[in-house]
Amino acid sequence: MMTRVKSSPPDEGSSVLPFPLPADVGVVERTEENDWLLNIQQNADQQAFRRLFERLTPRIHSYLRRAGHAPPDIDNALQDVWLVVWRKAHQFDPALASARTWIFTLIRNRLIDHERAARRDKRLTSNYADASRHEQYYEQDHLAQALGGRVARLLTQLPPEQRDVVLQCYVEGHSQRDVALAQHLPIGTIKSRARLAFERLKQLLKERA
């Protein structure tokens, strides 16, 4: 059972959050991870692999649990992905992606068919709309869980309806169309919210870079 952050005093400048924002440790972490992966790539360094594995695995596991995957499926997927990292590290190109982003895409590719099948089943059972409706609690819960990431922090600067589309996409794995169906809104409305959210995130990330 994961602990949830309960209501502490609101952080200044982020009125939507009932808890303070932790410091962004992402830059240091990402640099370390890239170094480890390059070491695996160039020297087949087992120690570097252990570090990377131990840093990322528990968090990826937690992320996939939240996206609705069963633990045995998660273990199988992680096993496959880490095998690729260990044996095909030469495919990693640091000019194109950070270590964690490369691993994110491997996870996505491994689970894409599985998630598609699950999404179809979910659509067939029509209580879908109720399960994914917009709730403040739901949103704060997801934000609280994702706060280690700098993007979740930036989300606090977006209007609620734009924030919701981003969370639905990345945390729940719901497409724009899924969101439109669940919220009984025209698909065009969701597409424009998502487009604005992405443009705003892009701008905020540029300002910080």
Partner: protein
């Protein structure tokens, strides 16, 4: 090619996260082959995804690094449809065909006269992907949609209202859009289209033709 019309950020986030059905995923992938700007945006969308993936509190797992070192399992293939290697010497239609692994000449085209021909590539639970070729100056039937419809121009160009869609451009239409594409007179127009459910044509002749073409 430098496309004039692009998918919005929501499409790229869905593509990055793996939320799209095969039809829409391949259509966006086709546009990415042509568009440097959207490839950059996709990278950003993937970075955002990685951030979400790793922002979670750690859970307990049974898997260890030694399980990986000691595994005798064959290495899985985890390649997505790859957009990373782009041979510059191919024209866009050939490039997208090789990305889709189809041979344009040997597809089962169904046509009406020599005006328009359609080849269906796939249908996954109602999300369809097809190729469409239309002769210069062809006027396509006015229609709307049950959900999203994305069209990617591979060759030639067509006009909708005051917008011209040429090679690499992506038109994003949906149930609120009624449109009637008109192919320009420059040459044959070849498009890749993805849509949810059948199109909704106006007029009985068009609906009859639709049943024959299977769109």
């Amino acid at each position: 090619v430098t496309p004039q019309y692009h998918p919005g950020g929501g499409w790229l986030m869905d593509y990055a996260r793996g939320n799209l059905s095969p039809a829409f995923e391949r259509l966006i992938g086709g546009h990415l082959l042509a568009c440097v700007q959207c490839r950059d945006d996709l990278r950003l969308a993937e970075n955002i995804g990685a951030d979400f993936m790793l922002g979670n509190e750690p859970a307990v797992t049974r898997l260890t690094a030694d399980d990986i070192f000691n595994s005798t399992q064959a290495t899985p293939t985890l390649d997505f449809l790859s957009t990373s290697t782009i041979p510059a010497d191919l024209d866009f239609a050939t490039l997208v065909s090789s990305y889709l692994r189809v041979n344009l000449a040997s597809l089962p085209w169904r046509g009406i006269g020599d005006t328009i021909a359609v080849a269906k590539l796939r249908d996954d639970a109602g999300d369809r992907l097809w190729l469409l070729r239309a002769r210069p100056g062809a006027v396509l039937p006015r229609h709307t949609h049950h959900g999203n419809e994305l069209t990617l121009v591979l060759q030639g160009a067509y006009v909708v209202g005051d917008r011209v869609f040429s090679a690499g451009a992506l038109e994003d239409a949906d149930e609120e859009t009624v449109h009637q594409p008109i192919v320009t007179t420059v040459g044959e127009c070849l498009c890749l289209a993805a849509a949810t459910g059948p199109l909704k044509f106006e007029g009985w002749i068009a609906r009859l033709a639709q049943r024959y073409l299977g769109i």
